[in-house]
């Protein structure tokens, strides 16, 4: 019964949160004199023709892919209590350098792609690695250093784009890097869609979706099934316990940030390899910050993050039809913000409830504590008869306990403040 109920609870939380967020947003829509029902209808209206419907799906998926990667990048660090607010800078600098490197070389197709991906991951990892090194060697809080490195990445990317990597002619209104040759383009997946019997959409479904899925599965396996993942999660749950168990905490900081940064390096690639083929002044910004929200929505689990990314992407797409229905697009941002807040509050309540149930379930479990007055049920009366206890003649030594300085149990995400 408990397993089922626990599952129910963990699903209930996001569902309730969604309802609360939608209710609040409906109130907002009413406030501007519109009908919320229309709004919901509009958001779910994917168009009339099959082509329009697949197009809508492609749009959502294409938006979800980078958000998913961003969420993954944030979550890997979060899992061990590091707040990588620097994903934004990591993907910016990675994308511009990957674009530059990709345009500079000529390689056969798959190799070219691989090369660009490796460059992007390496640069992202390097940029995140700075944060880790500063934290480990100098004790600089990763929050500050990654905030600062975001700005530095922005400036550096701008310098690279306008300086050494500039590919567009003087005077062109958008500054771009040189275009990556076609061998470095990631093939789209529309063939798969049509193969599935769907109508051909207008836009190309990013082939990078496949990479994102692979990365997602890899991260899931890494975190949940491997020793490394165990060490990572253990450090996140209790750094002190992990250290005592033999985990090298400093090394873990470095490794977690490197992985997080490497994934962050991929965020810009769906657009770079699937669509733009160069980095430019108009390249999509802000995905790193959205990634934080997506990771939170997905409770740092790859599957959850996938849902979070899809939800955000779905809401993003709705911005256009909403405007056609004369509902301001800012409603979408409000829904997104409210959902995140509602979900985290609901999660917290659910976590409490399950934990309480777990504790209660155990407290009443031992069979012999008939009146239930002692929770643990470890009174000598019901346990095995206490054997030869080391007692001095006078019998003073019963259960001396020492309580000094025992820090209480906390669920600290120690990445937070410092």
């Amino acid at each position: 019964m408990t397993a089922l109920r626990r599952l129910g609870l963990s699903l209930m939380a996001p569902a309730i949160a969604l309802v609360v967020a939608l209710a609040l947003s409906a109130a907002v829509i009413v406030l501007i004199g519109q009908n919320p029902a229309t709004a919901v209808g509009v958001m779910f209206d994917f168009g009339d023709s099959p082509a329009q419907q697949t197009q809508a799906i492609v749009l959502v998926l294409n938006r979800a892919v980078p958000l998913f990667l961003a969420g993954l990048a944030v979550s890997v660090a979060f899992r061990m209590g590091l707040f990588n607010i620097g994903v934004e800078g990591q993907y910016r600098i990675a994308t511009v350098l990957a674009a530059g490197a990709g345009a500079a070389v000529a390689l056969p197709g798959p190799l070219h792609l691989l090369f660009i991906i490796v460059v992007a991951m390496a640069v992202g990892a390097f940029w995140a690695g700075i944060v880790a090194v500063l934290k480990v060697t100098r004790g600089v809080s990763e929050v500050i250093s990654s905030i600062m490195l975001n700005f530095i990445a922005l400036g550096l990317a701008s310098y690279l784009l306008t300086g050494p990597l500039r590919g567009s002619p003087e005077g062109a209104s958008i500054i771009t890097t040189s275009e990556i040759p076609e061998s470095g383009w990631f093939p789209g997946l529309n063939g798969v869609l049509t193969g599935l019997g769907l109508a051909e959409p207008r836009s190309e479904l990013y082939g990078f979706l496949v990479v994102a899925l692979v990365v997602g599965i890899a991260v899931a396996v890494l975190i949940k099934r491997t020793r490394f993942g165990f060490d990572l999660r253990a450090t996140g749950m209790s750094a002190s316990a992990a250290t005592a168990s033999g985990v090298d905490a400093r090394g873990m900081v470095l490794k977690a940030m490197l992985i997080s940064g490497a994934i962050a390096g991929l965020i810009g690639l769906p657009e770079l390899l699937g669509d733009a083929h160069d980095y430019n002044t108009e390249f999509t910004a802000g995905l790193g910050f959205l990634g934080i929200a997506v990771a939170l929505l997905g409770r740092n689990s790859p599957l959850g993050i996938a849902f979070g990314a899809l939800l955000f992407a779905f809401l993003d797409r709705a911005a256009i039809p909403l405007q056609f229905a004369d509902i301001p697009a800012s409603v979408v941002t409000i829904i997104q913000g409210t959902i995140v807040l509602a979900v985290v509050i609901a999660n917290e309540i659910a976590r409490r409830v399950t934990r309480q149930q777990a504790e209660r379930g155990n407290a009443v479990a031992p069979p012999t504590s008939g009146d239930g007055s002692t929770g643990g049920g470890q009174g000598p009366g019901d346990g095995p008869p206490p054997d030869v206890g080391p007692t001095t003649g006078t019998g003073t030594g019963v259960g001396v306990r020492n309580a000094s300085g025992e820090p209480g149990r906390t669920d600290s995400r120690q990445g937070a403040g410092a």
Partner: protein, 331 residues
């Protein structure tokens, strides 16, 4: 920008559906959307004027915060039957070519981006010779400056804003070759915060005023507000941009310091494009350059602060129109 020649074969009709039917204009804004007191509003004014004249309706759309859904805005407008569809801002330049090719029946226009290389004959670029207008602004500043020291504040250091700088510097030097010109950008290319941070605008301009400049020209969008504030605080003057900021600033204290504004008549360009469309007169595949000769750019005169030098300004204007003065577009 990649599939340059795709779909150009289907050059069936420019504005084919114009006559008789109700005019349905699709307007896709740059980030910020309507109400930016700048060229989004200006474009809307143009559409509004056209509709007043010709009847019909307009559908406005704004992109999301990171502008990643721009292409979808245009597609949706075309899909829903809006025609013509106008993208406001050079950011549309990258993608509008592909969409125009996809919807050959629809007429497209893009503000601030050249389309000649895109080869779509249902697409028109509405360009402005900002450097020419800025030249006049530079000349006016040099003529009115008492200290022989003027300034230019750019929002973001991208090619578009550099055109303003280039013209302004050329204009000022045409009047006074040894004039001191401070130029400074608020944020580097790719970082758009420079268009929306008045505090930095204020600080940059204040630095110029403190250093002895008495007139500062801004091409910094919303940050320009800070430039006006700095001018007011230090008894200097400022030159506005895009629209007649004397009229839009809505604050008498600042009106007093806005000497003139470099007008970029997006409204006129949009209005005449729609009119052409309704008369089936859109050529397509080309750029319409709005320059001094078409009054697509120019200086505003509200407030009367440059009335005394109007003659010299007009002379420069004529020389530019006549080609006697070549205004550089790159600093």
């Amino acid at each position: 920008s990649d599939e340059t020649d795709a779909g150009s074969g289907s050059g069936s009709g420019d504005g084919g559906s114009a006559a008789g039917e109700e005019l349905m204009v699709g307007l896709a804004y740059d980030t910020g959307g309507r109400g930016d007191k700048s060229f989004n509003d200006s474009a809307y004014a143009g559409v509004e004027a056209a509709i007043e004249e010709l009847g019909g309706e307009v559908q406005e759309l704004s992109p999301n915060d990171d502008g990643s859904d721009r292409a979808e805005l245009l597609t949706q407008l075309a899909e829903q039957g809006y025609d013509p569809v106008i993208g406001v801002g050079f950011a549309y330049g990258e993608i509008i070519g592909d969409i125009a090719a996809e919807y050959p029946e629809t007429t497209f226009a893009v503000v601030d981006s050249s389309v000649t290389e895109l080869g779509a004959d249902n697409l028109t670029g509405l360009l402005f010779a900002e450097e020419e207008g800025s030249f006049l602004a530079g000349a006016a500043a040099a003529l009115k400056s008492e200290t022989g020291h003027i300034g230019f504040v750019g929002g973001v250091e991208n090619p578009l804003i550099q055109k303003f700088e280039a013209g302004y510097v050329a204009g000022a030097q045409a009047v006074k070759p040894d004039i001191i010109i401070d130029t400074q950008y608020i944020s580097p290319a790719g970082d758009f915060s420079g268009f929306g941070d008045p505090a930095r605008g204020q600080i940059v301009a204040q630095g110029m005023f403190d250093a002895g400049a008495d007139i500062v020209y801004h091409a910094a969008g919303g940050s320009g507000q800070g430039v006006f504030e700095a001018a007011a605080a230090s008894g200097g003057r400022a030159i506005g941009v895009d629209s007649d900021q004397y009229e839009t600033v809505g604050d008498p204290a600042l009106q007093a310091v806005i000497m003139t504004s470099m007008l970029k008549r997006v409204d006129n360009a949009v209005e005449s494009f729609i009119t052409d469309y309704s008369e089936d007169a859109v050529e397509g595949g080309t750029d319409i350059v709005n320059d001094l000769s078409t009054d697509g750019v120019g200086l505003s005169t509200s407030g009367g602060q440059i009335d005394d030098i109007q003659a010299q300004i007009d002379e420069f204007k004529q020389q530019i129109i006549d080609g006697e003065i070549e205004v550089p577009a790159i600093p």
